[in-house]
Amino acid sequence: MTGMIQGGWEFVWAAYGITGVAMGIYIASLWIRWKAEDKSE
Amino acid sequence: MNLQPIIRADGLCRRQGLRWVLVHLNFELQTGESLLLAGGNGAGKSTLLRLLSTLTPPSQGELELFGTSVKVNRRPQRNRIGLLGHTNQLYPELTPSDHLQLWSRLAGMELPKGLLDRVELADRAHDPARTFSAGMCKRLALARLMLLNPDLILLDEPFGQLDAQGVSLMQEAVESWRAQGKTVVLATHLIERGKPLCDRALLLAHGRLKWTGPAAELSASMVAGADS
């Protein structure tokens, strides 16, 4: 029992940030691909 | 036996990759008849032969061989089909006698004597196939068909790469199969060679059936005209 880990917010922000950005990029790429397919049909 | 067509194609289509190479073929072939497949390069002859050999399934439409669809169990059909395709189906490292032994054991039959003599390869029986010329490989592949003696024989450009002696060997083989009542399908762009060996002809162009009728009525100009 060494007590609570102090700080570490930078890791929290990095995890949320990377996840959010990656999901955002993926959703955007899906959107673009879907529009491209829609147009060609 | 003769009432049933050995081949029946109904709306047969095949796609290779993204292209349709055979489109809506309808034809029948009776047992014992021999068929000449004519057409230029890329007309779909080889693909049709692969379909008839059951190696490739149809993408669309129906194909029946020996009265049963190729979509159900293909094993009994395969035991009755022999294919000499644009590849010779040989192992470069094995010798002709190795090959013959393998084929006869796979088919569960005795190896008859003198088979290599008939294709004039006896003196090279123990050399690996990688040392052979293309024509010699083709002769070895012909020996396979002679050994298995299947009911439906599919030949893809059988005269290619063969010398004059090889060509007459092949012609004799086809004649003897016909005499035995076997069904032969022969694809070639050299129609003058194929015509005397066949009863009927089927002209393909761009994967479509352009003309069908007695082999004797097919002419080079029809083949040339079909492509354009």
Binding site: I5, G7, A15, Y16, T19 | C13, R15, L18, R208
Partner: protein, 225 residues
């Protein structure tokens, strides 16, 4: 049009839940007794892990269905779940490493779960790239389905072997504290990601299906006699 509305609704609900859950997790929930604020990574990490698992299980089911039924619909769904699963496992590895550094002192401790996820990522990414190297749509579908079944069968074996392999320095990574203020954001985020994942799978499978329709247009109708 209606199915697009359904997907959009799922996506919006998912994104809404995710922002609400993340807000709760980042600002409202108390820090963990031992791990402190670092523990807040859990609110995104655990839902991602759950959904990654669900998505790969779906991939396995779709692969099996394709091999049995040979219907293109299953291939489109298979492709969608493969791609989304690879994305989730990649995120999972990054999140796990970011959680590992402050708690274990190293980014990568060969924790059995994290290592299994890395192996899954490798296997399924390999299958995804296999799909790019096969031109024939039918071959692409049935070969990648075969590979997916093999890779899925391997996942439990990998897990057990890695756990055993690393048994000498087993590390505990799950917080045992169950506090309603901590469970709530977790649950909200899990449902949010579930909704978003459903929308993503739907849209990705439509893209796959549209591409297949374009690639596999039926033979031209004109039939010459």
């Amino acid at each position: 049009m209606t199915r697009q509305r359904v997907a959009a609704a799922f996506a919006l609900v998912g994104l809404g839940l995710l922002s609400w859950g993340s807000y709760l997790g980042l600002w409202v929930a108390p820090p963990d007794r031992y791990m402190g604020d670092v523990q807040r990574i859990m609110y995104v990490h655990v839902p991602t892990a759950w959904l990654a698992l669900v998505v790969f299980m779906l991939a396995f089911v779709y692969a099996l269905l394709f091999l049995i039924r040979r219907t293109w619909r299953w291939d489109a769904l298979h492709e969608a779940t493969l791609e989304i699963g690879v994305l989730y496992t990649a995120l999972l590895c990054i999140q796990g490493a970011l959680w590992g550094k402050p708690t274990w002192g190293v980014y990568w401790a060969w924790d059995p779960r994290l290592t299994t996820v890395a192996v899954m990522l490798l296997s399924f990414a390999g299958i995804l790239s296999l799909r790019h190297f096969l031109d024939d749509p039918l071959r692409r579908a049935s070969w990648s389905a075969t590979a997916t079944i093999l890779a899925s069968a391997n996942v439990p074996v990998v897990y057990y072997s890695v756990r055993w392999w690393n048994s000498l320095h087993q590390l505990q990574s799950t917080p045992k504290t169950v506090n309603s203020a901590m469970v709530e954001p977790l649950r909200i985020n899990a449902f949010g990601l579930l909704a978003l994942t459903i929308a993503l799978i739907m849209i990705r499978s439509w893209i796959a299906e549209a591409r297949r329709r374009r690639d596999l247009a039926p033979p031209l109708p004109e039939i010459e006699a």
